[in-house]
Symmetry: C2
Subunit: 393 residues, 2 copies
């Protein structure tokens, strides 16, 4: 690499946009490596700001705050994907490098662009169609099939901003129910189970993937992750092939969470990519020597990536709302490793913490578990340019 600012030595400062639990766990990981953290968040008293050296409380597009952040941080990263493009441009113009880059954010912020990119990268997805009006839904349904899932193109998470369409006659109502905004119509995935892979790419192009995890959602929210997932070496290899293509084509730096549908016949479809640390990677905190948070900090700071070999098997369970009130019992359980986020009121469904329950690896998990980072591949890939969008339908 020609950028002599990297690797950032200990004592450098990582800027993080966002003050939630992901930013908090990134800050704790940075601290262990001797790096300082400054948080930019619109919220007072955020979980991340409680463990960071400095916090700027301001909107993400506040010019003064961005100027101060650029002055303090040696690199800026994010805990969420919906960072305004103007924010990243402003930081770059002020001389602050950002990671992951703008391509990854652009792709992750628009579900149509995301699927188009993935398909172009050789990463299969469900069939889909962009939707500008109700007529687009009716026109696409013969190809997409029924039921089809209508989602906003932008924003929305944990199942919000989406609705099932069960016939052409529901098109107008469905579109109105999600606000009449630009949308995407997706075919139903007839999947066997939901998997994900947490992958990282360093500034030198080195790639490291954790083993696949199996995820169980309830009401659109992650409930439990089992890792390493019971998966054949071929399925792990296919997930790593997809991750490698996605990371290289985006010239990505950092950790990415890739949600996958396992169709049960060896096929993996990408559900979505998250250009950040990911809830389905929390198991790595107690499962691997270097967890996804330290891995992300290593990547954005230009450090070598860490080993992703699992040492144990982990069942990660989110503590939602008042489930976190069981902290005392969980603290008493020697098999449970408790992680709490320092949030105030345990409102229903709010992610308050998680528990990693650890047990020894099964023999077949040990056999499949040598996960040292792979050196950078020298194969040249055209880097994805979000300004040049392929036709999507």
């Amino acid at each position: 690499m020609t950028d002599t600012r990297f690797p950032l030595p200990p004592g450098s400062t990582i800027g993080i946009l966002g003050g939630g639990q992901l930013g908090r766990m990134l800050a704790l990981a940075a601290a262990r490596l001797g790096l300082d953290v400054v948080i930019l968040t619109p919220d007072e008293g955020s979980p991340a700001s409680r463990v960071s050296r400095q916090t700027l409380v301001a909107p993400y597009d506040d010019p003064d705050a961005l100027a101060r952040l650029a002055g303090m941080a040696d690199v800026v990263t994010y805990e969420f994907e919906n960072v305004p493009a103007a924010t990243v441009q402003a930081l770059n113009a002020l001389g602050a490098p950002t990671a992951p880059g703008r391509q990854a954010l652009a792709v992750a912020q628009d579900r149509v662009d995301e699927k188009a990119f993935l398909n172009a990268a050789g990463a299969p997805t469900v069939a889909f169609a962009p939707v500008a009006g109700a007529a687009d839904i009716a026109a696409a349904l013969p190809r997409i099939g029924l039921p089809a899932l209508l989602k906003t193109r932008r924003e929305g998470y944990d199942g919000k901003g989406q609705i099932w369409v069960r016939g052409a006659d529901e098109a107008a109502d469905a579109l109105a129910s999600i606000g009449g905004v630009p949308a995407i119509l997706e075919a139903q995935a007839k999947f066997h189970r939901e998997l994900s892979i947490i992958a990282a790419r360093g500034r030198d192009g080195q790639i490291a993937c954790y083993p696949l995890s199996e995820n169980v959602h309830e009401g659109g929210v992650l409930r439990t992750t089992f890792a390493p997932a019971a998966a054949s070496p071929a399925l792990q290899a296919e997930a790593e092939r997809i991750a490698g293509e996605v990371l290289r084509r985006l010239d990505y730096v950092g950790v990415m969470g890739i949600e996958l549908f396992d169709l049960g016949d060896g096929t993996l479809l990408v559900n979505e990519i998250a250009p950040r640390v990911h809830n389905t990677g929390h198991w790595t905190q107690d499962g691997c020597e270097v967890d996804q948070f330290e891995q992300h900090i290593r990547a954005v700071a230009g450090w070598p990536l860490g080993d992703t070999t699992p040492a144990v098997s982990v069942e990660m369970t989110n503590l939602l709302g008042d489930e976190s009130l069981d902290w005392a019992d969980l603290a008493r359980d020697p098999a449970a490793r408790l992680h709490l986020y320092g949030k105030g009121e345990p409102r229903p469904g709010r992610k308050m913490g998680h528990v990693n329950r650890v047990r020894a690896l099964a023999p077949e998990q040990i056999a499949a578990s040598s996960r040292r980072p792979a050196p950078a591949r020298l194969v040249a890939h055209e880097v994805w340019d979000p300004e040049v969008r392929p036709e999507t339908d």
Copy 2:
């Protein structure tokens, strides 16, 4: 326990006196449990303050700072043993509970009181004599033997404030060289090796000990810890007996480091006790599910103690001075877990970080490694009162 303030729920605030690396690692452990931290330190930009919610920069006896600390913290603990007694009294008078308690600090702050307490508790030490003037040295030498080690009664660490006395004729010069202050003369310990045990006691009297570690010092400063130490079950049991007596008689709450001389014949002499987390316990960060830092936070917050079973074998090496400049190579080594303290200049001998090198437990280590916390013993012990000192010579 009748103190209804405990256990402290998540969202409570732990006050820590001292802003060094021990305070920093305590703060990181508290964060994982959803607890906030406020640091009191005289130093700007301390390692601990970079990862804590709030910092009061003031001397330890500043009345305004202590009042603010007492107002913010639900319990106050320390990262060093030389906390002024007046500070603890002031905090208690302001309604802030402190842990460990005043007895432990008093005993640990005076080497004569410490050894007298230990002997009364059935914890053997080297022979010793209090020294008020050079004549005391000459008078004690026939019993203590030659060479004898002259140390200040108070202060001094990492080999500072001590000198060997090789004959009665050196008494006056030796005492002058350590400043002519009240001192202790100690017999030379003819030890086989240096061990330590990290022990914790909860607010309910529950005690949990980690396995013994073997420690190598250079120039009076800890260089390397190997844990679990190769030790017979009988030697581990003797160390736990000593730890149990010391913790119970001090009505101790928190983690204590107990340095031991292994005479090689089954006898352990206590070298010194540190009423805090301890450098020889850093291996637990990567060796045990619950490390010494989380264990200390659990204890002072009134939470149940965690499991101290080692999962792996660890070699901990301190990074002194410019050894920390090797961070990039260490980050590349998959067997090395790097911990850096966020300190500025790597001055010679300064503790800048440490590395834990992990490997699988040997079979004999696994056999000796079931270390669940023991329930509180119901045997009544007279609690040590530092105001009532036994005769020491």
